[in-house]
């Protein structure tokens, strides 16, 4: 692999800066609003077995207890030391095992101390550093655009959530439909600039998302939404059906946008190189491309939507539920979301090819003049 020297130095710079930021985050103490930071002062934590457990499902586990010595590093009680007991189960499903010399969050109320969380933010900074350094190394200058578009996506995402909460979740489909329109416009504008190709991609994306969403909605109504267990969605703070539909609208957008970009850009190249190509030939090229892309893309989304539910599925199966009920409670929403997304991805092949026909028309009318 030929590495451009300059790129290498930039990547090294990112790595260096990132390492410093990681260290700063690791040692940061006074920037947190709610909880205080504390240090586990033990070099070896006293850890004893309280009892061996066997639950009603015949799962064997243990109850263990750690004795932690903590030194407070922030806030009014800085420098004070506490001793605290931490009960945990080695499976660590809901409990946490703490490590020697670790930094943790604690909440202090009236002289008593409660463990909250291990300090994890520095791991995010560390991983982000590795990602960005690699990105600079592989994509060079182009990575600036990628980072910009990613940062903007997070920003808009935050804005949409604020808006949704302000409307109290009443207009959730409208809000996230609108969000899709804005997201795709901004993202495509950054990467492609304002031109005909970008507009065609944008229209294809929106058609792909909304037509398939309408189709899926229709099917859901026709089948009476049978076996749709919306209430099994996690962390529902508002109407779970609305959240599910919003998640579907949002989750598929990226894949459809990327697919439309791929197909429209390639067909645009073809029209540039072979101006006399017929509409039929162009449609055939579009279809061939679409066939190649759609399988892997659908698999990407299936894995993202379903793997997330794996820990819960395993727990349900572990507790002697049948496969059917475990599936219904944990995987069925993810599977439905995957299927709707897959329909969008397939339909986008048609819309992206259709929108590319426009280039041909423009090309021909240009020749007439």
């Amino acid at each position: 692999m030929i590495l451009k020297q300059k790129r290498f130095w930039w990547a090294l710079g990112v790595l260096l800066l990132g390492s410093i930021l990681t260290a700063v985050t690791y040692f940061a103490t006074d920037i947190y609003q709610k909880d205080e930071v504390a240090l586990v002062t033990d070099h070896q934590i006293e850890d004893r077995l309280i009892e061996n457990n066997r639950d009603v499902y015949n799962n064997y586990d243990q109850t263990r207890e750690q004795i932690l010595h903590l030194q407070i590093l922030s806030g009014k009680q800085k420098g004070k030391t506490y001793t605290v007991k931490n009960v945990y189960y080695p499976s660590q499903l809901v409990t946490e095992k703490y490590r020697p010399r670790q930094r943790v969050f604690v909440s202090l109320k009236k002289g008593s101390l409660a463990l909250v969380n291990p300090k994890r933010d520095w791991v995010l900074v560390l991983t982000l550093t590795i990602t960005l350094a690699l990105m600079v190394l592989v994509a060079g200058k182009h990575s600036l655009l990628l980072i910009l578009s990613m940062a903007l996506s997070w920003l808009i995402f935050y804005g949409v959530i604020v808006l949704d909460v302000k409307l109290n979740g009443t207009q959730i489909i409208l809000v996230f439909g609108l969000a899709d329109i804005i997201f795709s416009f901004v993202s495509l504008l950054i990467v492609q600039g304002w031109n005909r190709k970008m507009l065609a991609t944008w229209v294809a994306t929106l058609l792909g998302v909304f037509v398939s969403f309408g189709l899926a909605f229709l099917i859901m109504q026709l089948t009476g939404q049978s076996e749709m267990k919306y209430e099994t969605g996690d962390y529902a703070t508002q109407d779970p059906r609305g959240i599910f539909l919003a998640q579907t609208l949002l989750g598929v957008l990226g894949a459809v946008m990327d697919e439309a970009t791929d197909i429209v850009s390639s067909l645009y190249e073809i029209v540039q190189q072979k101006p006399h190509i017929t509409a039929k030939e162009l449609m055939k090229s579009g279809r061939t491309m679409g066939q190649e892309i759609m399988g892997p893309l659908i698999n990407v989304l299936v894995l993202i939507f379903m793997a997330e539910a794996l820990p819960m599925t395993i727990l349900y199966l572990r507790d002697n539920n049948t496969l059917g009920s475990a599936f219904g409670f944990t995987l069925s929403l993810g599977a439905t979301q995957s299927t709707i997304s897959a329909i969008s991805i397939v339909l986008t092949v048609i819309f992206a090819t259709g929108c590319s026909l426009w280039f041909l028309k423009v090309q021909k009318s240009g020749e007439k003049k």
Binding site: D121, M135, L146, G254, T313, I314, D319, T339, V346
Partner: protein, 253 residues
């Protein structure tokens, strides 16, 4: 008829109409992929060693996605090799980062969800978190590997006299497109997957400092970055593998 079944039937029809034979094969690759995931859940719940299940299912899932999804054998062979190596590398990174982050298990809502379920299931959730992260990343890596390999081989088809060095140069520019393509898919896929969690944080007034230290958020953000790292590693590796195999083929002649 259940809604899910109706949707799956519509999908099958659409994939056949739009995709032809490749479409039917892709449909089955998605179906098999889903069944493999359920099988993983079953095996782990029966107490089979989690690392062994993971190591066996990585190549199985990659093969399902790659060999069934593409019809060019050279593309498939090259993509599979690249994706497999990258998955192992990223797997090591995931192992390290998950150990540092201690973000396994269920989140703050756990109490509510867990009514009637065992809180002491006797299997290691930190290891399950690693498996979940690897499988979430795997799809993106496979997609990138296929896109890279088919792009480069297409180039070679149009320009048979291209030297390995020139090919590696074009690899960088194809890589940029592949990267752009993968990024939005991953990012929005994760947004869509965790929207309810974000709404939960917001409604319960979590501060920024709390969110970036919270188990589930950290887990999600890490998975986004693992996937990006996976795609980033795939770009140069797939290029090197293709140009290597070109040199070997020429030596044979």
């Amino acid at each position: 008829m259940s809604t899910l079944l109706a949707l799956v039937i519509v999908l099958a029809i659409l994939m056949t109409v739009v995709g032809g034979e490749t479409g039917i094969r892709s449909f089955f690759s998605v179906l098999i992929n889903t069944f493999l995931l359920i099988l993983v859940a079953m095996l782990i719940s029966w107490g089979v060693s989690i690392p062994i299940v993971t190591v066996i299912f990585i190549p199985l899932k990659l093969a399902t996605i790659i060999y069934l999804g593409t019809h060019d054998y050279t593309v498939a062979k090259n993509s599979f090799l690249a994706a497999f190596i990258v998955c192992l590398l990223v797997g090591l990174l995931i192992l390290g980062c998950q150990w540092l982050a201690q973000a396994a298990g269920l989140g703050p809502e756990a109490g509510e969800v867990l009514v009637g379920l065992s809180q002491m299931p006797g299997i290691s959730y930190p290891l399950i978190a690693v498996t979940v992260a690897i499988f979430s990343t795997l799809g993106a890596v496979a997609e990138a590997a296929v896109a890279m390999s088919s792009g480069l081989l297409e180039l070679k088809k149009h320009n048979p006299l291209i030297t390995p060095l020139e090919l590696e140069k074009s690899g960088t520019s194809i890589g940029k497109d592949v990267l752009g393509t993968a990024m939005n898919t991953i990012l929005f896929g994760m947004f869509g997957s965790f929207l309810s969690l974000f709404l939960w944080y917001f409604r319960l007034g979590y501060s920024f400092g709390e969110v970036v230290n919270e188990k589930l958020f950290v887990n999600e953000a890490l998975i986004i970055m693992y996937s990006l790292i996976g795609v980033l590693l795939t770009v140069p590796l797939a290029t090197v593998l293709i140009s290597r195999s070109m040199i070997k083929n020429e030596a044979k002649k």
